[in-house]
Symmetry: C2
Subunit: 326 residues, 2 copies
Amino acid sequence: MSDSRSGRRGVAELVSAARDGDPRALARLITLVENDADELPEVAAAFAPFTGTAQVIGLTGAPGVGKSTTTNELVRALRGRGHRVGVLAVDPSSPYTGGAILGDRVRMQDHATDTGVFIRSMSSRGHLGGLAAATPQAVRVMEGAGCDVVLVETVGVGQAEVEVASLADTTLVLLAPGMGDAIQAVKAGILEVADVFVVNKADRDGADATYRDIQGMIGLAPRAPGSWRPPVVRAVAAKGEGIDEVVAVIEKHRDWLVAHDELRRRREARAAAEVEAIALATLRARMGSLREGTALPSLAAAVASGELDPYAAARELLAGLRSSSA
Amino acid sequence: MSDSRSGRRGVAELVSAARDGDPRALARLITLVENDADELPEVAAAFAPFTGTAQVIGLTGAPGVGKSTTTNELVRALRGRGHRVGVLAVDPSSPYTGGAILGDRVRMQDHATDTGVFIRSMSSRGHLGGLAAATPQAVRVMEGAGCDVVLVETVGVGQAEVEVASLADTTLVLLAPGMGDAIQAVKAGILEVADVFVVNKADRDGADATYRDIQGMIGLAPRAPGSWRPPVVRAVAAKGEGIDEVVAVIEKHRDWLVAHDELRRRREARAAAEVEAIALATLRARMGSLREGTALPSLAAAVASGELDPYAAARELLAGLRSSSA
């Protein structure tokens, strides 16, 4: 769908301005991604040459573990090492509510005057390809605008968050004492995608138990020989404690990825998921246009009344799709 | 994918036995649904004539609100009214863990000797079409086997649960005091799909506050004129209290659905979602077979290295799909 605001500046102009570090152009481009604007293929083509220039770090955890504070401190540490940093706060919000709980603008204040940091919230509601397509596209825009580290932060610990996390080069999972996180992590499949665990608020009661729990679960998880064993780092992000250790572990993981040709493998997997999501979204959009015609509703009515079974109906739908997509 | 166990009895024989009330045949058929067996189109065709014969009641709520107990008591009440009842406990588990937290076999004991009740857990992990396709198919099997009420229970309150709930004729959302449910419900989009709210454990502290919270949120939610306003029922399922009121409200909602031609509309929407999910799963499976060949990996490698943008890659993928699907 087209974003009416995008007409104010042409894509080429926006891309050029974003490349020159214009934060408003960058923001506009991510809005195009968010809304699955018609201009996206053009944006994607313009930014393709810069693909792979940034390290992508995923950061997830349940509400209340201190994600914003930790992100903020990581940005500070990475800036101190001379990186240009992009932060993408992705909200895999329900398709129903539209009530994205984003913002937390306070933390942005810390870096408001720093042109080496770009912070942006993004929902994937408007994007037909969902998170799998929207996130890599937004990352690519940030890469193209010169960010050499992109932090992708997601709210909550669930399947959607796991999906986003698995799109990163390195995935950090934040835990905090007394939240039953370890169990949650296992249930949500986080153990399979986490590269680094951070026990935040490590100065609180129960931090040792959380540390032991997660170490125990890591020990129990099946892992191929020679594979990466996720380290567990203790931190008190609110006091800046443990952040250097987190950065060191991220760098260690990056070296490991490169040494094991795993970086290339992960990025190709991410690209495959992205291409497949765009392709499926395209097909779904074609079905949607059939739906507005008569094919799907009349097929659905036949299925609902028991005249037709759903497989036969799906075959008819696909036959119609094939003839319409020529 | 084919379930090796399905070979032991032919589909026609299983369908016939399930029609005669054989619970093992019914269980076997739902296993076929769960695993997306090759025989499914045949099963669907056999059961199509019985579509729409059962009232489908969705039941969802966060862990700990008393879903199992409430389901159990509803089954008892519905049996008392002479209904044959099917219970489908759907676990929209993560594709990663496979750790379905199902079972709770204890409650089944209550109805173990009652041939008018069929209780079955189902995961949708093995089903390419996901919950949207698997649940209506399993419901259709239960309808075909003579259940005139099917309770679809889902674990948790999240997007997947909302999806399942929205497949029902009448959707019950369970809350309990002191769990912050009302907020959760709003976040997960439950308000939009709930037809009836049940404040369970209504004899506990905080029940009045929960009742007021949810009433307040219902009052605030946008609602078209003449639409159904979800009633809130207090219950103590563990003592059987309030269950008759819940059943009465379900019957009232059913009458409302029929009077407003909303039952037909909902069932056609459910069928449309099912047909679309099967069609998309078919397309996805075709892409999967491309993936095992060379198309997607080489396209993904080109995207990961920045030679190709993902939209151009998706176009190439779809072009290959079209020529391979002839």
